[in-house]
Structures are given as C-alpha cells and as structure tokens.
Symmetry: D2
Subunit: 302 residues, 4 copies
C-alpha cells in the first residue's frame, strides 16, 4: 500500500475544503484531485493541480475576451481541427501538476521528456524509504528474440522463481547496507549523497511533475504506446484516465489522431493508392525495406 | 479605451460566477482575474488563469503529500532560501496565463523570452483593428548621446509636434490603405496575410501568454529594469503588481534578491574588500575597465 | 541585390581560407558555407557554421567511441529507422547556424519556433536600411474564398497596380519620415527605439539563427508545406537545398517520412481497411466530418 | 582505465585525419578533440565536436557578414560587456558535444539541466559493463552535521573499510546476479530492460551530451561550485579546462563574473554602503536572518 495513514489524512484534508474560484473549473478533474491512484506495487499518480479545460483551448486559439466558446459542438470541431493540423500552442494553454511515485529506472526514462517541470525527492538531503519494485510473475518477461529492445513471454517455473528471489534479496541487502552506512550509531555515518549509490534502480523515488497538455500528449503517445516498456506504460495509462475526464474533447481528438492514428511514408501512400486501384503490391514491388513493409502491413492488418 | 462594451460584458460575466474548487486558491489573485489593467494608450494586461500560490512552491520543494506548509513563517524562510541559492524548479510549479494587448514592436522584444506559451491574434486569418501606439509627449525621447541603445530627454516644441504628426498621419494612412487593399468591394481584395505587411510596428496586436513563475521572474528582472525600453517596462510594472498579490512571499524575495540585488565580479569583490579595509581604490588600481568601474561605482553610490 | 561589394568581399575572404580540423566535415555543406542565396527581392540565407553530418547521427545513436559507422548502407538504414520511429535525439546532435535576411512579418512567423537560438539586428541600437519586400505581380494574391487563412488567384490589372503602388509609396514615405525623425541635423533626433515604430512589416531585418537538425526538420515540415505562407515557404525551400547536401541520408528520410508522408486518424485507418476490402465508403458512412473527409480524400487522390 | 585498446584505436584514428574546413576553427579545442580525460575511477569526458569560437560570439552579437571582429581587444571587451549585462543569446551561438562516462547517480543530477541534447547508452537494448564507482578513501565523507545536504570529514579506520567493503561486494553481487538473470544459457533469460533494475546507482553509464555555451556556463556555475557534490564537480572541473582553451575570452569573463562573482541582495547592498560609510553593522542591525548574514559575511571574509 503506497500511503500511510498520515499521508492519507493530509489528502483527505485537502479534499475536504473546497473554496470559491473565478477560474475555469473542470468538474471531471475536481473529482480526481489529490487522490492517489495505485500503479505497480508501491507507486501512484496524484493530480495536485491543473489549469484550464477544453474551453480554455479554444479560448486561447481565438484570443478571446470571454470564455471564447459559443457552443460545445463548435469547440469540439475546433479542437479536432487544431489537433489534425498540428496546432500545438492552444493545447499548451492547459497545464497539469502530478505527484508521482515511481521506480528509479522508470524515472530515468520519464525525465527524457525535457519540456516539463520537476521537483524530485532529494536523496542527498533525505533518507529514502525501503520500497522496491518487484514485478508480478506475469510481467517477469524474457528478452525478446526478434527485438533487442523488447520482451518475449513470461518466464516460467524455476527461472521465474530465481529471478524474483534475486530481486528481493538484493534489494533488501542493499537497503540494509544503506542503513548501516548512514547510521550514526557508534560511527560518523556516511554522507547520504554517497550512501544512495548502493541502492538499485528498482527503488522508488517520487517527484512533482508539471507539464502542459501538448507536451503531455506527446509523452502519452510515446509512453502509452504498445512498444513502451510495461513499467512506464502503466503510469501513462493511469494518466490517460484522468486526462480523459479533465479535457474530454481534447482527449477524444488525441485518441483518434494520435493514439489511434498512423503515419505513412510517401512510399506507403504510393502503395496504398496502387492497392486501392486494384494492384497487388508486395514488398518487392513496394520500394520498402523488409522492416518497413512488415510495419506497413501491420498497420493495415491489425 | 481598450475595451468595448461587449468585451467588458464578457469579462463581467466571468467575474460573476465563482465556482468551488479543491485546488490551491490565491485570494489576492482572484481579485485580479479577468480585469483589464490599462497599459500605454490602447494596451492592457489581464490575468486569465493561474496555478499555485506561495505554499505550492514549498510544497513542491518538499515533495509533500499535503499542503507542505506547517507555518507561514517557515514557508517564507524557505522561499527566501530557494531564491538566494538559485533553486529554480520550485518556482516553476506556479503558472500564470495573461491576455496582453501590446504594440507589435513591444511584442517583438517580448517574444524573445522563449520559455513561455503564446497564442497570438492572427493577421493572416483576421483583420486587425485601427489602434496605434502614439507616445505621450513626455515619453517622446531623444536618442541618448552616451548610450547607443538608450534615450535622452524628451523632445521639445516643434520637433515633438512634428514627430507626433508623422506618427499619427503615417499610421492612419497605412491603415486606410490596408483597408483599401483588403476591400472586396468592386475588386478581388488582397489576401490578409499580404495586406498586413503595410502596417507599421506601432499597431496593436494581442496574445495569450502563459509562463511559469521562475521564467516570469526572469522576464520581470530584465523588463522591469530601468534599462529596459519604457514601452515594455510599463507592461512589466503592471505584471509586478498582480504577482505581488498572487505570491507575496515569493515576490518579496524576488524584489530583495533580484530587483534590488546586484551582481559583482571577482574583481568587484576584491575591490570591496580593499575598500572595507580602508584602502582608497580608483579605477586605475581596480583592475577594471572604465565602463566596469563606472557601473561598479554606480552600484555603491545610487 | 542583397549584398554590397564590401559585404561580398568579407564573404569571399572567409571562403578563401580553409583550415585543418579534426571534426566531422560534410563536403556537401562546405560548398555552401557563407554564400548568400537570394530569397524574395532583398532577402537571403547563408550558412555560417554547422556541426555534424549523417555519420554523427548514427554515432550518437550508438554512443560509440569512433565514427560509429561501419558502412554507409547500415547508416542509412539506421537513419530511416530512427526517423520512422520518431527517435528525435540523434537528429539533435547536428546543428546549423544561418544568417538570414527577411521581412519583419516573416520573422514574426519564424520566431514562433522557440527551440532555436537567435541574435537579431537591433533597431534600438542601429539604423535599419531602406529595404522593403514588394511582392512580384504573380505573388500578389487575393484573399482565398474558401479558407480564411489562405490565398486565391493573383490580382489582376488595375487592382494589382494599385496595391503595388500603395506598398511602394507607403514604404518609402514611412522610411523618409523615419530618417527625418532620427535626424540630428538641427534637432535633437528621436530615439531609434521609438522611431522604428513607424516602419511597416515589410521592412527587412536580419538575424543569426541556430538550430539543431531535429527542430530544423520540424520547422521545414511546417514551413516548406504547401499551406505555409509563400513568403516563408521560399526561405524553407532554400534551406531544404543546403540540408539535402549537408546530411543526404537524413534529408532523404525526412522527405519520405515527413514531407511526403501523411498522418491518418483512427477513423481514417478504419475507412482504408474497409476500402481495401472492397467496400465503397462515403463521407456519410465514414464517421468523419465533411472537412475531415475532404482532407482524407485529398490524401488519396492528389 | 576507462578505455580498452580497441576504443583507443578508434580515437587515434579520428585524431590522425585532419580535413580542411572553411568553418571557424578553435586551435585550442582541436588539441582536445576525441581525447578521453579521466574523471573518477572509470569515467571520462571527451570532446566529440564543437561549433564556434570567441569570434563567433561577437560576430553573432553584431549580426555581421564577415568574421565580425576588427581586433582581439575589441572582441574581449565586447564579450565582457555581454557577460556583465546578462546578454545570453550571443553565447548560445557556440556549441559543444561531449561523450561522457559517469556513474548513474551523477547522471541523474546532470540530466536536470534540460536545455541540452542527450543520447544515452541504452540498457534496454544493450548489456551494461561491470564498472562501478568506488570512492577513493579521501572522498568517503561523513554526513555533514550542519548541512543536511552536505559532507563532513572523511570516514576513518574501520568505518571507512566497512563502507568500501559494502560498496564493492554489493556492486559485484548485483552484477553477478544481473548476468545470471539475463543469461540465455539453459534458460529463457530475463529481458534486459527488467534485469537492469537490479544494478545500483554507482554503475557507470555513458552518453553523448550536446549543449550551447550559455547553458554550459550555467551548468558549470552550479556544478563546479564548491557546494556541488564532489562526484559531479570533478566532471565540471574537467570540462572547465577544455572550455578555457576553446573560448579563452568568454571563459575568462565567465570566471570573473560568474565563478568569482557574487550576488548581493538589496539588504546586502544597503549594509555594504553603511559599512563603507564607517558604520559597524551586525546581524541584528542588518535586517538579515542569521543564515543570510552568515553567507553575507562569508562573501567578504573568505
């Protein structure tokens, strides 16, 4: 369980005290505020704050004095138009702030998305908790045989058991030794900024992460994708759920144009036209490499 | 007057409808929301939205579950510490969205601040209004004689009158011709995206501008500075007033450490130490160039 | 002619003095260095410097100690793979620095691309030249009747003549008055930072613009597109030519996947599958709006 | 030793093949290209590429057609002026690309500097080497007693020995188990993207890191500072050495105004003026908190 009673009490207190505001309010998002949604075995995401709603996107696109929206239907059409034509700046007018608890190796992928604001729990200043990500058996996957950067089927039997045993034992030993090294009981105690180096990448860290909606969509497109590593994808999936309630029209457009959409190369478009004209196109006649052809066929077949 | 009655009515409507929220609320900022504060002869700034308050800064710095603030005094001390030691990320956790109406030549300086989100009124799509910045006589300054990039005293008499006459006449003629070129009355009508090229840089444009507090402080430090061009400084000054009400502790720290603070070079520090030890230091013995020495003395004398 | 003899002599001098370097050298790019390629009536682009070549992209992708390339063919395949799968960071490892002379209204579109470095000629500090963009007759387009943000056919006869007359006359009058206002002959002279406000948006400015290859490709995809305004598209086209010689493999991948490629929505993919299965799909049965359907058909028909 | 013979041969090959270029060349930097400078026990920095030199800074500031430099002395004066007045864009016109090998816990601090381009060795795709940072005894520091985020004196005797023993043993066991889990010898083999989670934060990673000179100076100011963690400071120190040879004038200005310079608050300036006027100022009469006063005194006393 990721939260202790004291933390839960702090969250409950925040949810108990609505205040009046003149700002745009997303009722769908208010229902999520501060709540911790579990991800992996000890992680979570929590919405700490947000700015804007669907109407804020069209209001900015129109640079208007008032709400900038005459009808919900018009707004949805405009949002779809903006998404389809890669107008990014109106989506940047919404902002979200999350509190995320996540394993360090997930954090290292996440931080590559540079257009965001981050405050991470400091292991120079503070002592980390004894919390490590141990995969559930069904996610203990073998190395993929066809893709260097991918997973195959779940490990079975003794191999799976041994891996779990290694991960648990090494994590705990590393943490025992971390505690031993920083202990000031009968010794000076190693500096925290040094002791942390003994901790493995499955230890949990946490941070505040703030990002605008355009850059969040970019993050979600890459990280909620089926090729993303499972352990970051589950965070992206959890975020998708709150975004769908926050800005329903923008999220629907994102789903249709980005998550459900595809990119075709010029060669791909040529092949399609020939196929629609009745020609049978093969990899040999496509002008594509084998890898490209396989990916092209997958778009049309799956 | 920058707003017409319809625009004012839209603003009044937005201010009339408070809604409950669970988010952090800055009461000082709520009082400013949507109101247009006049700047120059036709411009304004208006706060459209904001995220966070003083407590949000320390909450992020501490990566806490609740409000992250035990006492206002502790928060102020922490905010001053963060500002003094150039910790930028906690200040990035607050965000503001402004609607600004400003002359194009001011907009071109403003947009150099890249870490911000902008949606500008489109002169490709829409027709611009006949509104031009005409300086008031006291701001009709002569070229500085000592600084290529500066102003001297206000122009006087016939020269001032002639300049005002030129600015008004040329602006209006340019706009007359803009209207004439795009007119579809008895002719095809020039494309708006082309016709706009006839309009001078004192025409007003407007945009939505969203920025985090850290980058806003950077903008304000440069643009509210006495060396900034007067026409952008008045915008920065107007923004300072709302920021002071939004995040009073952060703004006070900003005033002390950034606006009121100074940067000394290593040579400057050496000189100071010698001066405090009783030595009389001159430009010749300072190791500084004449320009540096003049600026160094100005810090201590003004 | 954009360059005066003195400027041309400075460029010739730079091109006359090769020096040895151990860095990656792109021979295709060396041929372009410093040369001014004319754009519009007074503008140009010039490559001032560059970093990296095709091999630098794969070298970074592989984090290798040497050149990181065993064969040109492997490099091309990897570059195509990286482009196809939206790996942006290896393309960021190449950098280009341009000197661009361009009308102010083009500069204002250009500067919206924020991830770049810019030093612009300062009209606060210096006096601008009397150079204005006057469209050639074939580019003097009417407002589009179907697209608020577009152009129709070229203006004809008396209307075209009148527009050209207005643009020329207003530009010159504005400049005459600019000169008059800043003149210190018998008067104080208005500050340059103020006088510039009288100049229209077709006056030329110039800047140094530095950008990495990933962000340059993003710029080119939007600005070399057929929907971009003609006056910025010709700059993008000129840049495309030098990039094609600088990083031929990366540019070929960009052309196939970005410029020649298309994005389909989830609805679009569904329709395609039905069409490939022999179904006749119409707008009514497509699930798309009329605008989306028109754009979808255009992808397959053009 | 960080490099194996094959890697060294690749570097030697690159250094053996100068080619002519028309670009700006920094002779001081050419001497450093590709060479690996040792940092910590297994790390290094290597310059892979660079763009620009001191003259490129002033050339961009002047937006000039040629080299933009009439005399070295003028260039130095202009560079000092630009640095003193926080003109950042001319310094952004120089760029450097480094190959860095560094412990993961250092990489996690480093990556917080977002305005840079990074390609990191992928532990999803590849197998990491058995290389761990083990501090030398003199850098095995105790936790600071006065600063939560700092170090005290080096550990002594049995405590130091035990810490070293823990770090070595845990690292090696973690790596043994990493190898065991990914082994495909008689078992499926755990996916690399999962197995890496068992590795501690003192394992070495490597990346290509590209940054402009302005942002590099910002990095160096924070990371070459005496308050930075020792393990990242040594990287910053190594980079300082090559930058000093690359752009000597800019680096000298950086040293004087940033590294050797100080920031005083408005209160600090007030106190200084009073002290220069002969008054004895104490913390009580300074208006500063105890912490601020201690830091203020340290500036003047050290």
């Amino acid at each position: 369980m990721p939260l202790n009673p004291e933390q839960q009490a702090e969250i409950d207190e925040l949810r108990a005290t609505p205040q009046p505001t003149l700002r745009a309010v997303s009722e769908g998002m208010e229902a999520h505020l501060y709540k911790a949604y579990d991800v992996l075995d000890h992680g979570f995401i929590r919405v700490i704050d947000y700015m804007g709603d669907d109407a804020a996107i069209t209001q900015a696109a129109r640079v208007s004095y008032g709400k900038g929206t005459k009808s919900v239907q018009n707004d949805e059409g405009l949002i779809r138009y903006l998404m389809r034509h890669w107008h990014s700046t109106p989506f940047e007018m919404c902002e979200i702030k999350l509190h995320v608890k996540l394993p360090v190796f997930v954090a290292r992928q996440w931080i590559r998305h540079r257009t965001a604001n981050v405050n991470e729990y400091s292991a120079r200043y503070s002592i980390l908790d004894r919390e490590f990500y141990i995969p559930s058996p069904e996610h203990l996957a073998a190395q993929s045989e066809i893709n260097n950067q991918g997973r195959g089927a779940a490990l079975q039997g003794a191999e799976a058991a041994q891996v779990l045993e290694i991960l648990k034992t090494d994590s705990n030993r590393a943490y025992d030794n971390y505690e031993q090294m920083i202990s000031e009981d009968g010794q000076a105690g190693l500096a925290r900024e040094l002791a942390r180096m003994n901790l493995p990448a499955n230890i949990y860290t946490q941070w505040y992460w703030k990002v605008d909606l355009h850059n969040l969509f970019h993050f979600l497109r890459l990280r909620a994708d089926s090729h993303a590593q499972y352990e970051i994808r589950v965070y992206a999936d959890a975020i998708c759920k709150v975004v769908a309630d926050w800005v329903p029209a923008a999220y629907a457009a994102f789903e249709d144009y980005r998550m459900g959409g595809v990119n075709l190369s010029g060669k791909g478009v040529d092949c399609l036209k020939r196929m629609l004209a009745g020609e049978t196109v093969t990899q040999e006649t496509s002008g594509m490499s084998k890898g490209e052809w396989r990916e092209f066929r997958a778009l049309l077949d799956d």
